[in-house]
Amino acid sequence: MPDGLPTEIDLTRPSAARVYDYFLGGAHNFEIDRQLAEQIASMTPNLAATMRSGREFLRRAVRALLDAGIDQFLDIGSGIPTVGNVHEVAQAANPKARVVYVDIDPVAVAHSRELLAGNDLTGVVHADLREPERILTETHQLNLIDFSRPMGILLAGVVHFVPDAARPEEILSTLRAAAAPGSFLVISHSTFEDQPQEMLDAQRLSARTDTEITLRSRAQITGFFGDWTVLEPGVVHMPLWRPDSPSDVDEHPERFGAFGGVARYDQSAG
């Protein structure tokens, strides 16, 4: 049994991946997950919208990477990739695109394996973001991603599950170090900046899943990109990141409580 991964499956506890699925309109969830989701939603009506917003940010970011020629993706914290998942977005644009999903939730991993059975260009790794070396090793073993070529590393709504004590900057540094020049890093991350009290209360509720959320500042989140070149428009509230059309942008983009950004590893950056 890998260290740090659960040694028992407790279906009496809600799972972040299944709550997320419920917010996206999926049925890959249980009563316990739905109860928590409804409770969160009743406290912060924005939250469901935040999750949809995050999903849309991810879709736009993946599209941008595809446009830049990226054809292999490492999606860490993928959850239950049912609705608007990366391999569908990617393979719709490039049928040869490869995607490796990584998640800590064994149910999400089992589900992903079943869903992706038969899709030879995708793979699933059961691992914890806090063990980046394990992620890289097991990804290597799948033989799907060529680490000598540029790839997209996707960390959508996952780094905020890593507390400061687990040194997220070192984790990011390890992941960046594994990528070839020309690679991209996509991060979306919850923040306390510009947020009302109920957002902060909801964050406390998240402790009832196995995963507590650490809200961080824009500067901290920008720091996760290291010396890579942060692309326009920078680290911004998610709807502001390259919207499909100006009308898509909400009147209050900060209400989603999360920043998104994309950076590229330019050779000169070292």
């Binding site: 499956i9 999926g26 890959h28 249980f30 879709r59 736009r60 569908e88």
Partner: protein, 718 residues
């Protein structure tokens, strides 16, 4: 995700359909999550708008396409209930006039719209139900699968653990924090001699014993309280049959997920053999192989422990014992018998003191030491030990009578250290030997201090000679007849840098013992002759003789004649102005006959005097034949004729002896010098007895050369 098809159908009002689809797309994107971009959403809904329009107008009419659109909406994840509500409402309200050209509207439009609404709702509901069933089934299956995988992994892990547990050569035992043993493997049970079932009835506490190493139980308690996570130590277990097994024990704590202590896991390895070997090696390292007694190392360890743990006032005693003449026994009877003697002595010593709890150790050779346990009389122990040694020893067919000498030291622990104690014991043993063997000596700090001072002087002598720390003083020898100073006796002093001026009585003996007297004596001779030559040159008429003492060891040295000749030659002193004083024993030499060199010395033209005459053994026959010029009467005879009236009879007896000695000397044609003349009365009576010359405080104390020079210059004052 289904690809979005191009809208088709020229019979549809394109502009109207597009506007309608755009509104629909905006609504679904506002109301729920759509995994498509706005343009994609709009394109998809335009297709469905056109299909619905075509369905309404189709002949014959069927609602089936509307059902398919309902299903397609679900498949595109447009499942937000309010988005369905919007779609159905819009179909009834805006759809006909916005999308359907007026010309193309069928007569039964409102029935057809209702049917299309119904069909779309039915298709949507059926698809949503199917999808929900499918997703619920899939997530449940995934959950079970994940659970299966975890369980499989646990089973694998359990199987691996079981294999290790049952097959391990080391013993493994698991207990709860209440100490109740939950499981042990066969190796654990075997090591302790119980069955697995028996041990599983037991509690860890039963495996602890009062004689376990200190702190072991506390360590276990700390562990079950969660203060320690692991421990490693050597522990002795008692097997079921009462025998002992020594183990290397490693204990680890296993905690609940929340950190509370849950189990302790003990792993034990049987190290009895290694332990016993270690004990044996340790015994060997600490015991003398010949006698089996504790050796020097163990003795010092024990002594160190006594000092470390003793209360300050507690007395610590040692008896340092050494056999007398053991080397002779060894040499004459052989080492084998010598060794057997040591074994017997060792055993006797151990037996005679063991009952009092004293430690007997063999320090090496024939040296033994007894550590006297606090409060007991070390002298009594020494006496017991001497008695034990004194009983005849039978080795082989020999009966040996041996004796030993013992140095006894006893003092409060706070006043000394282990090494000082042993140094004192060693010194005291030497005193016992020096006092005649077969006895004990008790340490005397004052004597020790004297010995030390003496040793320090001995050590300092050679350097003192090199550094010129010796000086000569001269004491006049005066004619009793006319009062003139005829000679001076050279007397050496040591100008010690720390102790000041030291008289010869404190170092001449040491110089003789160490042989340094030869070098010192030559320096005295040379210096005295140089001074005498100066006097002779300055005051030739005085013809002052210098009298220099010659120690027995110097006189015995064959080179002495050459040395004296060389001194005379280099200083230029006329030989007749040098007198050498020898004691009676020095005259006789070590060979039991007078020194051969006396004649050769006399032949140089110098004078020879016998010092301290009357105190040694004098062979008058030799005296008669030897080239002696002068006798110096020893102080005690002269002291006896002080005539202070206290003991008139004794006074007369001494006076008669001096009279006889003077007569004897004169009969042998020798001069007589009286030493230690203190008073004028003494001088007067010695003159009356016809003694030739006198020396002593009355005629002048020993003084530096300048004083003599001044006295010579004063002329008549001599």
């Amino acid at each position: 995700m289904a690809a979005v098809p191009e809208p088709i159908g020229a019979d549809v009002g394109r502009g109207g359909a597009q506007g309608y689809a755009a509104d629909w797309a905006r609504a679904v994107r506002r109301l729920g999550f759509v995994p498509l971009s706005a343009a994609e959403t709009e394109r998809l809904l335009l297709v469905h708008t056109v299909r619905l329009a075509q369905a309404v107008r189709a002949e014959p009419f069927t609602a089936r396409p509307a059902e398919e659109v309902g299903r397609a909406l679900v498949e595109a994840h447009l499942t937000e209930p309010r988005a369905l509500e919007w779609a159905l409402r819009a179909l009834g309200a805006d759809f006909p006039h916005r999308v359907l050209a007026a010309a193309g509207r069928p007569a039964d439009l409102s029935e057809r719209i209702a049917a299309v609404q119904g069909g779309l709702a039915a298709g949507y509901a059926r698809a949503l139900r199917d999808r929900t069933f499918a997703q619920q089934e899939r997530i449940a299956r995934s959950a079970w699968q994940a659970r299966d995988e975890v369980e499989q992994a646990l089973r694998d892990s359990e199987a691996r653990f079981r294999a290790v547990f049952t097959g391990a050569a080391i013993g493994i035992g698991i207990a709860g924090v209440d100490g109740q043993i939950i499981d042990v493997n066969q190796a654990f049970a075997d090591m302790l001699g119980y069955s697995i079932e028996e041990l599983c009835q037991a509690n860890v506490a039963e495996l602890f014993h009062a004689d376990d190493a200190a702190g072991m139980w506390d360590l276990y308690q700390e562990m079950v309280e969660g203060k320690q996570d692991s421990a490693r130590l050597e522990k002795r277990y008692y097997r079921k049959d009462g025998s002992v097994v020594w183990t290397d024990l490693a204990v680890s704590l296993i905690r609940h997920d929340d950190g509370r202590p849950r189990f302790t896991v003990a792993m034990i390895e049987d190290i009895t053999e290694r332990y016993e070997l270690q004990q044996r090696l340790r015994f060997q390292a600490l015991h003398d192989p010949l006698t089996g007694l504790p050796n020097r190392t163990l003795f010092f360890e024990t002594l160190g422990r006594v000092f470390d743990s003793a209360a300050p006032e507690r007395r610590v005693g040692v008896c340092f014992l050494d056999l007398d003449g053991f080397k002779a026994i060894n040499d004459s009877l052989g080492h084998d018998l010598g060794d057997r003697l040591l074994v017997v002595i060792g055993r006797r010593l151990a037996e005679c003191v063991a009952e009092h709890g004293h430690l007997v150790a063999r320090m090496g050779g024939d040296e033994f030491v007894i550590l006297v346990d606090g409060g007991q009389d070390a002298v009594a122990v020494a006496q017991t030990a001497l008695a034990a040694v004194a009983a005849p020893v039978h080795v082989g067919d020999q009966q040996l009578a041996v004796s030993a000498s013992v140095g006894v030291v006893e003092c409060p622990a706070e006043e000394t250290t282990a090494s000082e104690l042993m140094k004192a014991a060693d010194a005291t043993l030497y005193w016992a030997k020096a006092a005649g063997r077969g006895r004990y000596a008790v340490y005397d700090p004052e004597r020790s201090a004297r010995d030390l001072a003496r040793a320090a002087l001995v050590a300092g002598l050679p350097a003192a000679l090199e550094r010129g720390e010796f000086v000569l003083h001269y004491q006049p020898i005066v004619s009793l007849l006319e009062g003139r100073m005829l000679a001076v006796e050279a007397l050496v002093r040591w100008q010690h840098p720390e102790l000041g001026l030291i008289g010869p009585d404190r170092f001449i003996g040491l110089a003789e013992e160490t042989g340094l007297i030869v070098g010192l004596g030559e320096w005295v001779l040379r210096t005295a002759c140089r001074d005498a030559e100066r006097w002779w040159r300055e005051f030739p008429d005085a013809r002052l003789v210098v009298s220099v003492n010659l120690a027995a060891r110097q006189a015995d040295d064959p080179a002495i004649v050459d040395t004296v000749a060389d001194v005379l030659a280099t200083t230029g002193l006329p030989a007749e102005l040098l007198q050498l004083e020898l004691t009676e024993s020095a005259v006789m030499g070590s060979a039991g006959e007078p020194l051969r060199s006396l004649h050769r010395l006399a032949a140089l033209g110098i004078r020879l005097a016998v010092d301290d005459f009357g105190t040694g053994y004098s062979n008058l026959a030799y005296l008669r034949r030897l080239p002696i010029h002068c006798l110096k009467l020893a102080g005690p005879f002269v002291e006896g004729i002080r005539a202070d009236g206290t003991d008139v009879a004794a006074d007369h007896r001494d006076e008669r002896i001096v009279d006889a000695l003077v007569r004897l000397a004169h009969a042998l044609e020798l001069w007589v010098t009286a030493e230690a003349v203190e008073t004028g009365v003494q001088a007067e009576r010695l003159r009356a007895l016809r003694c030739d010359t006198g020396q002593g405080r009355y005629f002048g104390a020993p003084a530096p050369a300048e004083v003599i020079t001044a006295r010579l210059r004063g002329g008549a004052a001599g």
